[in-house]
């Protein structure tokens, strides 16, 4: 059975259990209104990460599992034991790296389905109760959105890669010119300037990709229609939307930095300290997931202008209620 056939079969199965969905008004598409969606997405990502963590820990555990201090020597300043373990664990590098690669692939491509589920849960409500739909309620629509989201992801990736490659070439040329004229420091600074512009452009493309994916879910659009919707949204808000993505991106770095600082000063390494550190780290991850979902919600609102009258019908197979149609967004925060 082909992958597409599998998706269609799963889609058909899910529809049998799907509740009737109605599109929420744009203003109501908020991450904070779907806390369980945040938790579910966090659980998905944590599960994937745990596969990697377990793989690495098994290597360390074989060597230091019976050390009276546990794996504490691996974190001792100077890293003598850590480097020694790395030297003796060369054989484990390939399986751990393979696990990491597969998890990364699963996160990037397999993550389209959880992202579709989360977006659908944020953008729609059940027609009967007007409450947050369950995963089962949105499964059919989310599954149906995955092929178009995949296409959009690939298009965005290709475009981003092109921008980056051209940018690298341009940065190299500018660097060479500036180095010859002014010096190596100035050459690197010029290249850095070009690099920042290129990163901004690539980020702009990424924002477009996110908007297109949001349109696939929100408007039940095909890939090219979603891209058109994305371009329309970006044209309408060429500053506000990238800015909205950028500040969220920057904000998601803050908890990481805070946690790094906190755990650096948390010198005790007993069981209690371990629990505190784990709690800090998981808080960081869940906050970052929430921020990302906030951006997803923003993207859903931004493309709501183009929601077709048949959006609800497409989700449920029944005519949509006219009053449930989402209103155009003005781009406020989540």
């Amino acid at each position: 059975m082909s992958a597409m056939a599998s998706l269609e079969a799963a889609d058909a199965g899910a529809r049998r259990h799907a509740a009737e969905l109605v599109a929420l008004p744009a203003e109501s598409v908020r991450a904070r209104l779907r806390p369980w969606t945040v938790v579910t997405l966090f659980a998905w990502e944590a599960s994937l990460a745990l596969v990697v963590g377990t793989s690495v820990a098994s290597v360390a555990g074989q060597a230091y599992g019976r050390h009276p201090d546990g794996d504490a020597p691996l974190f001792a300043p100077g890293s003598l034991a850590l480097l020694d373990l790395l030297r003796h664990s060369v054989a484990a590098v390939a399986p751990v790296a393979t696990t990491l690669f597969l998890v990364a692939l699963l996160a990037r491509l397999g993550g389209l389905l959880p992202a579709a589920v989360a977006s659908t849960q944020m953008a729609f409500a059940t027609a009967r109760t007007r409450r947050a739909p369950s995963i089962r309620d949105v499964a059919a629509r989310a599954l149906g959105a995955v092929p178009a989201m995949f296409t959009v992801t690939m298009l965005a990736f290709a475009l981003e890669a092109t921008v980056v490659l051209l940018g690298v070439a341009l940065a190299g040329s500018v660097s060479t010119w500036a180095t010859g004229r002014f010096g190596e420091a100035e050459g690197d600074e010029a290249a850095l300037g070009v690099g920042l512009v290129v990163m901004a452009l690539a980020g702009f493309v990424g924002v477009g990709g996110d908007l297109a994916k949001a349109s696939v879910v929100r408007n039940d659009a095909r890939a090219l229609t979603a891209v058109e919707s994305s371009i329309a949204a970006l044209s309408a808000h060429p500053i506000a939307l990238p800015y909205s993505a950028a500040w969220r991106g920057a904000a998601s770095l803050v908890p990481v930095a805070l946690a790094a600082t906190l755990t650096t000063y948390l010198t005790a390494r007993g069981p209690t300290a371990m629990i505190v550190i784990a709690a800090i780290h998981q808080t960081v991850v869940i906050v970052r997931v929430a921020i990302r979902m906030s951006w997803m919600a923003k993207a859903l609102r931004a493309v709501s202008r183009g929601v077709s009258p048949s959006a609800t019908a497409a989700a449920t197979g029944r005519p949509a209620r006219s009053g449930a149609q989402g209103a155009p967004s003005r781009g406020r925060g989540a």
Binding site: E45, A46, L48, A49, L50, V51, V52, G53, S55, V56, A57, S58, A60, G61, A63, Y64, G65, R66, H67, P68, G70, D71, A72, P73, L74, F75, P77, G78, S79, L80, A81, L83, D84, L85, L86, R87, H88, L100, V103, A104, R108, G111, L112, P114, A115, T153, T179, G183, E184, A185, D188, A260, T261, T264, M274, I277, A278, H281, V284, R288
Partner: protein
């Protein structure tokens, strides 16, 4: 040569560091040059060494060079001429001279240098512009004023006698020239040669060459090989992984570059002037065995005075941060090295930070001049810039003052110096001496041990540079393994013994050409016969060691089972007693030593309730069973808990826990790895 923060209040207390900014003005006293002051003719003339009377003040003066050199930066050529005065200090008469013409290593692909693979080392590519040194004149002044032309008899290409492989490689090599002499030079006699030559510099390739208008000019003049005391010449082709070896003497070198270029060179400037659009500087320094210089029209410079030594840093415009780091590193390390290995005897030190395009010129040492390297913005998370600076500075001792045969015994300069480098960095940054990231601190010592132990079984440390098949193995064994060996001896036998060994070696053989036996002898005197024997095995015989705790047994003290004849009665004890509550516990720890090296080690016994006991083991046998009697249960044992033995081949077996004791597992690794993976997954998610 190297394969590859600013100081605080404590540093300020150690050195008087005066940093002056501003761009150099060639040929003027404003440039920080000493102007027309008297030449500094010998080492030790400017300062009183620590432990006055203990240190030699001068080297034996064997060969003096009086040279003039003119740089054409557009053609990348140097024209040189002058005289070389050589004294036969050996015990026998000589009828020949050997000249090193190192720049011919870059003449073509048939040179020994370019034919030798050196994977993992810099300089592995080809120059995009070849380099040569062509002798134009070479004559011997006779005692009666007659001049004998030696050039026609010069032998540039010839087979070598020391190995078929080398012979094949050296047939077309032109870096090691023989010069037959028309008359015998008796022991103690002196001859004077007049010489003229032309250098064509290559694009920068390992130490020397040009990049744009930057010129690093090392190994650039016809250099007389060292004459050993037994009358043999220590001559060799320029091998890819090898460095140099020469006699001490006086260098009086006048350099001539276009106006606008800044010169950095060995020794102090004793005369500087501008003349017909040229900058002319005369550098004079005694008690040295090489001379290098640089010229560039884009240098900035800073100066500092450290321990009475005038330190000048030349660096590309915009690299101010690097200059600060390098001067601070010298500010700490120069007094440190002086205190440990004898005072720096020269009045000046020049740091040259090449542009990034000429990075292969960086990380090299010459007498009173070292080259550094690093990105213009410094390096906030690693100590690489400091490491390179400290390493090259250390060579002022382990190469400069202890002028060993670097080609034959590279570990004597690079290895000893790598130990000294890590020792200084530890003093500066403790466990954060190589990488200083939030949550990850890596020390230079740990890195050296990591690299050293990975190559422990591959080849001996003590062998000629040309005997190493790859640059990776050369770097690992010569640099890192030597350093790890010495640091292990340091940690095991202590500071005082190390000072009495390596410190004494550095002082005793100052201005000399020590070999491996000199080093081992110094360790025998300072640390004892066991340490010296261990050092010899580690250097020459691929010595290695692995300590392991293989058994930890603990149980309540109870009557033994079996048949016992007591007081004329035979008694059979069938069941092990449980021991009285709160009674004694007995047990043992089995520690094994694998390998050929022997170090005394500590074994730490971990008892229930958190108590710890330390037991010493001389490490001589292949194993030791350490008995235990006490009130608390013996739960675990760790051999070498302080990691004194950096050479320990496997740290993962250095501990063991009794079977019935619950263990902690790798919970922190699980937590940290999962968190890192979560951030990755979160970043990749659509």
């Amino acid at each position: 040569m190297l394969r590859a923060r600013a100081a605080g209040a404590a540093l300020s207390a150690l050195v008087a560091l005066v940093v002056a900014g501003g761009e150099a003005e060639p040929g003027s006293t404003e440039a920080g040059l000493p102007g027309n002051g008297p030449p500094v003719l010998g080492a030790g003339a400017h300062m009183t060494p620590r432990g006055a009377g203990a240190l030699r003040e001068h080297a034996e003066d064997v060969v003096d060079y009086t040279l003039r050199a003119s740089l054409d930066p557009r053609a990348h050529t140097v024209h040189g001429e002058g005289s070389i005065r050589f004294r036969n200090t050996s015990a026998v008469a000589v009828r020949e001279l050997w000249l090193h013409l190192y720049l011919n290593a870059f003449k073509n692909e048939r040179s020994a240098f370019l034919r030798e693979p050196a994977a993992g080392s810099r300089g592995s590519g080809l120059p995009t512009d070849w380099g040569t040194i062509d002798l134009r004149a070479l004559s011997l002044r006779g005692p009666d004023g007659a001049v004998a032309d030696l050039l026609p008899a010069l032998e540039l290409k010839r087979p070598l006698a020391d190995g078929a492989g080398e012979r094949a490689a050296s047939d077309e090599d032109e870096t090691d020239a023989r010069v037959p002499l028309p008359r015998e030079v008796a022991p103690g006699d002196m001859i004077t040669l007049d010489v003229a030559w032309d250098d064509k510099l290559p694009t920068v390739l390992e130490r020397t060459g040009y990049s744009g208008s930057f010129h690093m000019i090392g190994q650039w003049f016809p250099k007389i090989a060292r004459l050993e005391p037994d009358g043999t010449w220590a001559h060799f082709p320029f091998h890819h992984l090898a460095e140099f070896y020469a006699d001490f003497g006086m260098y009086d070198v006048t350099l001539d570059v276009p106006e606008g270029f800044t010169i950095g060179a060995t020794g102090p400037v004793v005369e500087a002037r501008r003349e017909q659009g040229r900058v002319i500087e005369r550098h004079v320094q005694g008690d040295i065995h090489d001379f290098a210089w640089t010229a560039w029209d884009r240098f900035d410079s800073r100066e500092a005075t450290v321990d009475g030594v005038r330190v000048r840093c030349l660096y590309p415009r915009g690299f101010d941060r690097d200059a600060e780091i390098e001067l601070a590193a010298v500010g700490f390390a120069l007094p440190y090295f002086g205190a440990h290995y004898g005072a720096y005897p020269y009045p000046v030190l020049t740091l040259v930070h090449p542009p990034e395009a000429a990075a292969e010129a960086g990380g090299m040492e010459y007498p009173t001049l070292i080259t550094t390297g690093g990105p213009w913005h410094g390096d906030p998370f690693t100590r690489i810039i400091e490491l390179v600076t400290v390493h090259e500075l250390g060579h002022q001792w382990f190469y400069g003052l202890l002028a060993s045969n670097e080609s034959l015994w590279p570990f004597l300069d690079e290895g000893l110096n790598s130990y000294a480098e890590a020792d200084v960095l530890r003093a500066m940054h403790d466990q954060r001496s190589l990488i200083d990231l939030p949550g990850l601190a890596v020390s230079d010592h740990a890195w050296q041990a990591f690299v050293a132990n990975a190559y422990a079984h591959d080849a001996p440390v003590a062998q000629a540079a040309s005997a190493f098949p790859t640059g990776r193995q050369y770097g690992a064994l010569v640099y890192s393994r030597t350093a790890a060996i010495l640091e292990t001896l340091h940690r095991v036998y202590g500071d005082a013994a190390m000072t009495a060994s390596l410190g004494s070696y550095a002082r005793l053989y100052r201005f000399d050409h020590p070999g491996p036996e000199s080093l081992i002898g110094s360790f025998e005197a300072g640390m004892g016969g066991d340490a010296a024997a261990t050092l010899r095995r580690a250097l020459f015989d691929r010595g290695w060691v692995d300590y392991a705790v293989t058994e930890v047994v603990s149980h309540a003290e109870a009557p033994a089972r079996g048949i016992f004849d007591r007081d004329g009665q035979r008694e059979t004890v069938k069941e092990a007693g449980k021991g009285a509550p709160g009674g004694n516990v007995e047990g043992w720890v089995l520690v094994e030593r694998k390998g050929t090296l022997t170090f005394p080690v500590e074994v730490e016994l971990r008892l229930a309730g958190g108590e710890r006991q330390r037991v010493s083991w001389d490490g001589r046998g292949s194993s030791v069973r350490i008995p235990y009697h006490g009130h608390a249960a013996l739960e675990a044992a760790v051999v070498d808990p302080d990691h004194a033995v950096l050479l320990d081949d496997d740290l993962t077996n250095n501990q063991s826990t009794a079977r019935d004791v619950s263990t902690r597992g790798a919970t922190r690794v699980l937590e940290e790895a999962t968190y890192a993976a979560e951030l990755l997954v979160e970043g990749l998610s659509p």
